[in-house]
C-alpha cells in the first residue's frame, strides 16, 4: 500500500500547476505508471541484477571472512582493520597514489599539448587524430606485449642505448624504474582519449575570438592562457575527473608487465584486490579492499568537484 501511495503525485498543487499544460494532468499520470513500470522493468532488473545486488553483496562480504571453499564467518570490521594496519596494504595504496600523481598530469599535459598542436596543423588533422587514437582502441594485452619487447634488456630501448654507447637500465626489473616505465607506457596507451576530448573542445572555440584578440595585439601565449584554456576548462574538468577515476583502477599494466614487482614496487590497489580474491581466495578481504578504493575515489572526486568552481568556466 505504501508503495502505491508514494507513486502518486505528491500534491494536487503540483499536478495542476499551470506552467506545463497537459490534457488530463492528474488521472493521466497515474494511468501511465503501469506501462512506465513495464517499460523500465527490463533495465531496472538489469540494474538490480548486475549493479545493485553485486554492490550490496560486496559490502556484506567485506564484513565476513569469506573463503571460496569452506566456512564463512562474520568478522565485523576485522577485514578493514587488518588492511589498514598492514604495511603491505599501505604500500599498495601509496603505489596507487604515486601512479596517479605521476600519470594524471603527464596524461593531461601530453594530450592537451598534442591536441593544441593538431589543432594548428592545416592539413591531415583528422588523420593525425586517428593515429594518436589508435593505442586507445588497441587491446591492452597487445600493447603490453610490444612494450615488454621495448623495455626488456636486449630489447628496443636497450639496443638504442647500446648503439649510443651506454647501458640502459633494466626498466621492468629495477625497482627504481619499474613504476616510471609503467607510467610511460600507460600515458602512451591512454592520452589519445583525452586528446580527442580536447580537440573537440578546441574546435568549438569560435575563431572570431582569437582573431579579435590577435588584432588587439595579444600574444599567442596570452591567448592560450586567457582565451583557449578557460574556454576548454569544462572539458579539462571532465577529462581530469574521468582519468583520475580510471587511473585509481589501474590493473592491466602492472598485472601484465611487472606482476606488481619487482618486490611490491608496482603493486596497485586493484591488482591487490584481484590477488586477495582470486589467488588467496579471501573474498571478504578483497571486498573490503575494494571498498577502501571506492572511498578513496569518492573522496578525491569530491575534492575535485569542490575545487572546480575556482577554475572551470561555464560562461560561454
Amino acid at each position: 500500500m505504501s508503495v502505491s501511495s508514494t507513486a502518486r503525485p505528491p500534491a494536487p498543487s503540483a499536478s495542476t500547476s499551470a506552467s506545463t499544460p497537459a490534457p488530463r494532468p492528474s488521472r493521466g499520470r497515474r494511468d501511465d505508471l503501469v506501462p512506465a513500470l513495464g517499460f523500465t522493468a527490463p533495465s531496472m532488473l538489469g540494474l538490480a541484477l548486475f549493479t545493485a545486488v553485486p554492490i550490496g553483496m560486496s559490502l556484506v562480504m567485506s564484513f565476513y571472512s569469506w573463503p571460496i571453499i569452506g566456512e564463512r564467518s562474520v568478522r565485523g570490521v576485522g577485514n578493514y582493520v587488518d588492511l589498514l594496519t598492514s604495511p603491505q596494504f599501505r604500500r599498495v595504496v601509496l603505489n596507487t597514489v604515486l601512479f596517479t600523481v605521476l600519470y594524471l598530469p603527464l596524461n593531461l599535459l601530453v594530450s592537451l599539448g598534442i591536441a593544441l598542436w593538431v589543432a594548428s596543423v592545416r592539413r591531415g588533422r583528422q588523420a593525425l587524430r586517428v593515429i594518436f587514437f589508435i593505442p586507445v582502441v588497441t587491446p591492452i594485452v597487445a600493447n603490453v606485449l610490444v612494450w615488454r619487447m621495448i623495455y626488456t634488456p636486449g630489447g628496443a630501448l636497450d639496443g638504442l642505448a647500446q648503439s649510443a654507447g651506454v647501458d640502459a637500465p633494466n626498466f621492468l626489473g629495477d625497482p627504481r624504474w619499474a613504476m616510471a616505465s609503467l607510467v610511460l607506457m600507460s600515458v602512451w596507451q591512454g592520452f589519445g582519449y583525452n586528446m580527442l576530448v580536447f580537440s573537440a573542445a578546441l574546435d568549438g572555440i569560435p575563431a572570431s575570438i582569437n582573431e579579435a584578440a590577435s588584432l588587439d595585439g595579444v600574444s599567442a601565449w596570452s591567448r592560450l592562457r586567457h582565451i583557449t584554456l578557460p574556454m576548454i576548462s569544462p572539458s579539462m574538468f571532465f577529462a581530469s575527473t574521468m582519468t583520475l577515476i580510471t587511473t585509481f583502477q589501474v590493473f592491466a599494466q602492472p598485472y601484465l608487465l611487472t606482476g606488481g614487482g619487482p618486490g611490491v614496487a608496482t603493486e596497485t590497489l586493484v591488482l591487490f584486490v584481484y590477488r586477495q580474491g582470486f589467488a588467496s581466495f579471501a573474498l571478504g578481504s578483497a571486498a573490503a579492499a575494494a571498498w577502501v578504493l571506492f572511498a578513496l575515489i569518492l573522496l578525491v572526486t569530491a575534492v575535485q568537484f569542490a575545487g572546480q568552481k575556482k577554475w572551470v568556466n561555464y560562461d560561454v
Binding site: 508503495v3 505508471l33 573463503p67 571453499i69 569452506g70 621492468l172 627504481r176 619487482p262 581466495f281
Partner: protein, 422 residues
C-alpha cells in the same frame, strides 16, 4: 491502486529472489556437476585440462576420444585453458560448486585443490588397477597430506639441464657430463657468456630456481613436515648464489618482469646456452630450436647430485555425480595405449614405465641416460597449500635479488613472514 501494486510487487519479489539466490549457500556442490547420465545409460563427463596451444589441445582431444572408443557409453568433453589461468579457474569452480568431473592437477598445486577432490583409494582397490606400472615418484607426487591418492599420474619427471650443443662447440667448452659439479658449471657458464649472450637462464620461478638451489645446497624451500623454511641458512645461501649468477658473475641475463616463459624463450633464441627444465617441455623446446639440444643432470654441489621432480595427473572432483564413470575414464586416459600415443605426439614423459620408450624414441640422444641418472637423485618438490601465492611472491621479491637490487636474506624473510605462519 491494484494496477500499480502488482508490477511493483513483482519487481520487488524478483529482486528479493535474486538477492537470496546470490547470498545463498553454494559451496560444496550439493547438486553435483560436471557429469550426467541420460535415460539410455550414456554418460557425459567434462574434463578440464591446461593447454599451451592447438597442437597440445589436439593431443588431449585424441585422448578424450580414446575414452569413448574404449567404452562407447562414455563421452568426455574437453575444456582447456592456459596453465597459469587453469588453477585460478579450477579453485573458483570448485568453490562455486560447478567443478568438472575430471580435474587435471599438477603435483605442486594439489594442496590448493585437494579439498575439492575425491580420494581414489577405494576406487583403485575395487577396480584392480595395476599400480606397479606407474613410477613411484609419479604416484607420490599426487598423494595428499593425508596419504590418499588424489589423482592417477600421466607424467612425471626430474628437473635436468638442457644445453645448446652448438654454443658449447663454438665456445670450445667440453660438453657437460652426467654428474658434473657446480664449479664445472660456473666455468662453462663464464666461457659461454660473451657478446651479449649468456651461459644460463636464471629465473625465480619455483622449479627452475629451487631445483638449482637444491642441487647446490641439498635444501628444499618446504621442510619435510610441510612448513615453509625460506629463512633456512642453507636455502638463503643457495638463493644468494643463484642471484650471484645474474648480478655478480653475470653469466645469466637480468630478470625483467614476471613472464615465466622468459628463461625458455631466451634459450630457444640462443641468448642463453643452458636452461634447467623438466622432461614435460623437452620435446616442445627441441622442436622449436634451430640447434641440437643436449640433456645433462643439474650441476651437483657438496651434497651430491640432487634434483626436484614434479608431475601431473587426473583426479575426480568431490562433486562429480558419476565418480565410477569418471574413474573409468581416468584409467583410460592414463592407460599404456593413450600414454604411448601422447608420448609419440611429443607430450610429457609418461608416468608408466611401459609407455616411456615411445617418448625416449623421440628425445635427443643422451636424454634417456641423463633422465635415468636424475631420477635416481630426484625428490618430489614439497609445497604448502598456499603454494600458488608463495610462488607468486617468490617471483616478485626474489626477482630483485637476482638483479642485485635487494639482498636474499631480506627478500626471503619478507615472504617467510607473510606465509610462514600458516
Amino acid at each position: 491502486m491494484r494496477k500499480t501494486t502488482a508490477p511493483v510487487a513483482v519487481i520487488a519479489a524478483m529482486g528479493l529472489a535474486l538477492a537470496a539466490g546470490c547470498g545463498g549457500d553454494s559451496g560444496g556442490g550439493s547438486g553435483g556437476s560436471g557429469g550426467s547420465t541420460d535415460s539410455d545409460g550414456n554418460t557425459t563427463l567434462t574434463w578440464a585440462m591446461w593447454s599451451g596451444g592447438t597442437a597440445e589441445r589436439d593431443a588431449w582431444q585424441a585422448a578424450a576420444d580414446a575414452v569413448h572408443e574404449a567404452d562407447p557409453s562414455l563421452t568426455v568433453e574437453l575444456e582447456t585453458s592456459s596453465f597459469d589461468e587453469y588453477f585460478t579457474k579450477m579453485a573458483t569452480r570448485i568453490g562455486g560448486g560447478s567443478a568438472p568431473c575430471i580435474v587435471s592437477v599438477q603435483s605442486l598445486r594439489l594442496g590448493a585443490l585437494q579439498a575439492g577432490l575425491l580420494p581414489l583409494d577405494d576406487l583403485i582397490e575395487s577396480s584392480g588397477e595395476d599400480m606397479s606400472d606407474f613410477t613411484d615418484a609419479s604416484l607420490a607426487g599426487l598423494q595428499g597430506d593425508d596419504g590418499s591418492q588424489y589423482a592417477l599420474p600421466y607424467d612425471d619427471g626430474p628437473m635436468v639441464m638442457l644445453y645448446n650443443k652448438e654454443r658449447f662447440a663454438e665456445a670450445g667448452v667440453p660438453e657437460p657430463q652426467i654428474g658434473w659439479g657446480v664449479e664445472e658449471f660456473e666455468s662453462a657458464a663464464q666461457a659461454l657468456s660473451a657478446d651479449g649472450a649468456y651461459g644460463v637462464s636464471a629465473f625465480p620461478s619455483d622449479l627452475v630456481m629451487f631445483s638449482s638451489v637444491l642441487a647446490r645446497t641439498g635444501v628444499q624451500p618446504v621442510a619435510e613436515d610441510g612448513t615453509l623454511q625460506l629463512t633456512d641458512p642453507a636455502l638463503v645461501d643457495g638463493v644468494s648464489w643463484y642471484g650471484d649468477l645474474v648480478h655478480e658473475q653475470q653469466v645469466a641475463p637480468q630478470v625483467a618482469g614476471v613472464d615465466s616463459t622468459a628463461p625458455y624463450n631466451a634459450f630457444i633464441a640462443q641468448t642463453t646456452a643452458m636452461v634447467p627444465d623438466g622432461p614435460w617441455d623437452l620435446l616442445n623446446i627441441q622442436s622449436q630450436s634451430d640447434f641440437e639440444v643436449g640433456v645433462v643432470t643439474l650441476p651437483a654441489g657438496e651434497a651430491g647430485p640432487r634434483t626436484l621432480s614434479a608431475g601431473s595427473g587426473f583426479g575426480v572432483s568431490a562433486s562429480c555425480p558419476e565418480p565410477e564413470a569418471a574413474f573409468e575414464a581416468i584409467r583410460t586416459l592414463t592407460s599404456t595405449e593413450v600414454l604411448t600415443q601422447l608420448a609419440s605426439d611429443g607430450r610429457a614423459l609418461p608416468s608408466r614405465t611401459s609407455a616411456q620408450q615411445a617418448w625416449f624414441d623421440n628425445a635427443p640422444a643422451g636424454a634417456q641416460e641423463a633422465l635415468a641418472a636424475a631420477t635416481e637423485s630426484a625428490e618430489p618438490m614439497r609445497v604448502t597449500d598456499d603454494w600458488a601465492q608463495v610462488g607468486t611472491a617468490v617471483i616478485q621479491f626474489v626477482g630483485p635479488v637476482l638483479n642485485g637490487s635487494s639482498e636474499a636474506p631480506d627478500a626471503l624473510e619478507q615472504i617467510q613472514a607473510q606465509y610462514g605462519g600458516r
